[in-house]
Amino acid sequence: MTELQDLAHKLLDEGTVQVVIGWEDSRRGARPVTITDAEDASRLIFDSRCVHNLATYLNPRRSQVRALGKPAVVVKGCDTKAVAALLRESQFERDEVVLIGVRCGGVVKDPTSDGVLTEETTAPRCVACDVREPRLADYIVGEAQPEPPQNTSLDDMVAKLDAMTPDERLEFWTAQMEKCTRCYACRQACAICTCDRCVVDKTVPQWIERAPHARGNFSWHLIRALHHAGRCVECGECERACPAGIPLMLLNRKVQQIVAESFDFTATDDLDAVQPIGDFLADDHEDFIV
């Protein structure tokens, strides 16, 4: 068994945790798995197909995962940023979860592919990764890996959109919004969409139209992107989850760029970081909430 499997086995066997959330191999590539039996720890894998942000399984709205008991979750460095965001927002306590960090050499966008890393296949989130060592984790397993190829297509496209006229941008986004059917795969995949009752599900009043016409879809996606200002860790899971192929990361990347410019803040695994939108300080240099 590998270092990861041994550790998972030990944690389950000793009762330190009741479930290990990690990745397993399957008929169609790498996928998340919840292991509750120490004997199943040998199913755990980690390789470049493990793109999923497993921090999402710590999201409190996943009651059936909570019901499995105290978790250990296998996390790449980027995933720890999402864990840190959840901790900063008091979604759970640090000692309620065990983090098993894996040293990562980059992941591909498609977990069902062969995992070969190229500039095209590597996930955009791997660009300029600053968490090669998942510092937040309780345990860190695996060998240090070479830096992954850099897929700059996301930033390139954001720049392209920036260079468009407002009319051209509107045309681009209208075409995308017409594809959305409001499956909410984006929301459900997201680690930091933690609201018990999402704003779009609130009916008194009906803040956002629920019907999947372009107008309603614009409301939904723009508001979701804004609700993630300073919170999104840019893992790209929303875009990967979208069955309609909408390039949601263009929105999220742009919002986080604005947050970085305006508040000098980017997603971080630092538990003490002050979140620009979420945190209130008495000595805030703004004298109102915006």
């Binding site: 996928r31 459900q188 069955p243």
Partner: protein, 355 residues
């Protein structure tokens, strides 16, 4: 009624041109620059990519649109004036439907006419002639044969085309299909024996390819699922699931919907129905806050229940055509082929008296 005829590629282009010229909308799979496909209107055969990528959304979107107006109203003081939706739709032709998509519409017809007739669904069905194209099978997520269909099934199609050298063999599966042949006979000719043999061979090959993906007994799956509502097997599926609607919305047979009003102005508005999913955490929640399906274990169980036990027990068909879209779309790796395999295994063990 499967009179075999042949239509060459040129003749098919001519047929499409003629239908378009007559003012009838033609819908076909169209592949975009990024390689994705949709069922979209075309003006010529050249715009279509037959048997290219599997279109998303499925053909369902043309019969039960993601959102649809059920009625409109206008308020005059205390009075309300209601506007009805269309009684009928302009005739349209679908060319190159995947057999899994065509069969899905036929399967959903049952619930749409279950005592009460859903006029909008029926009107769109009545307006549409469906020409399917036999499929070679796509990948290892296809399992249409496992649910009693197949890559060359003509279920739900008026005409089934099978690709052969230089054109297609055409099988006229319904009365409407026969009428279509009669109206467009000039584009069709007699099928040569070689073409028929070639078609038979490719159909058999496609079926073998898909059969290799999954071979189960859906009757005993139905029995097992109906009998094992409380089985701990359901606890193994929920944890991985994100609880989104991706699987339901890409599915050609999922038809659950929500009804909601939308104000469109002062004193005017519409009542719409929009796609909804049993995977949503608010799907069954009561006004009191009580939720009969309060976690994803229960909700995922409902998905399997509805498709492989409830629908077959009421209407005789699984609510599934084995198209595999749910498997390909799921970001969390839920695999219906694997799930059905596992349930079939448990059902077989039970049948044989093995614990």
């Amino acid at each position: 009624m499967s009179a075999n005829a042949f239509i060459s590629n040129e003749q098919l282009a001519g047929l499409v041109a003629a239908v378009v010229a007559s003012g009838t909308r033609v819908i076909a799979p169209v592949t975009a620059d990024d390689g994705t496909a949709t069922y979209s209107p075309i003006n010529s055969l050249a715009e279509a990519t037959l048997n290219g990528a599997l279109p998303n959304p499925s053909l369902k979107a043309h019969f039960l649109p993601p959102t649809e107006t059920l009625m409109s109203w206008r308020q005059h003081g205390s009075d309300i004036e209601i506007g009805s939706p269309p009684d009928s739709f302009a005739p349209q032709l679908v060319l190159g439907a995947r057999p899994c998509d065509a069969a899905a519409m036929d399967i959903v017809d049952s619930v749409m006419n279950w005592d009460y007739k859903d006029e909008l669904w029926n009107a769109r069905r009545d307006a549409t002639t469906v020409i399917s194209l036999a499929c070679p099978g796509i990948d290892d997520s296809c399992f249409c044969t496992a649910v009693g269909l197949g890559p060359d099934s003509s279920r739900g199609a008026d005409v089934l085309l099978v690709a052969v050298d230089d054109g297609y063999l055409a099988e006229f599966a319904t009365e409407r299909g026969a009428a279509f042949l009669a109206d467009n006979a000039q584009f069709f000719s007699a099928a040569a024996d070689t073409a028929v043999a070639q078609a038979d061979e490719s159909r058999a090959a496609a079926r073998s390819a898909v059969e290799a993906n999954l071979n189960v007994d859906t009757k005993r799956i139905e029995q097992w699922v109906g009998d094992h509502f409380d089985d701990e097997f359901w606890l193994t599926l929920g944890p991985r699931c994100n609880g989104c609607g991706a699987c339901a919305f890409v599915c050609p047979t999922c038809h659950c919907f929500d009804i909601a009003d939308e104000q469109s102005g002062v004193g005017t508005g519409v009542r719409r129905r929009s796609w909804d999913t049993c995977q949503s955490n608010v799907f069954t929640v009561h006004a009191s806050g009580h939720n009969p399906r309060g976690d994803q274990n229960a909700r995922y169980r409902q998905r399997i229940n509805h498709k492989f036990y409830i629908y077959p027990s009421k209407f005789g068909d699984a609510l599934c055509t084995g198209c595999g879209r749910c498997i390909r779309a799921c970001p969390a790796g839920q695999d219906l082929v694997e799930i059905l395999q596992t349930i079939d295994g448990m059902a077989a063990n039970e049948q044989e008296g093995v614990a």
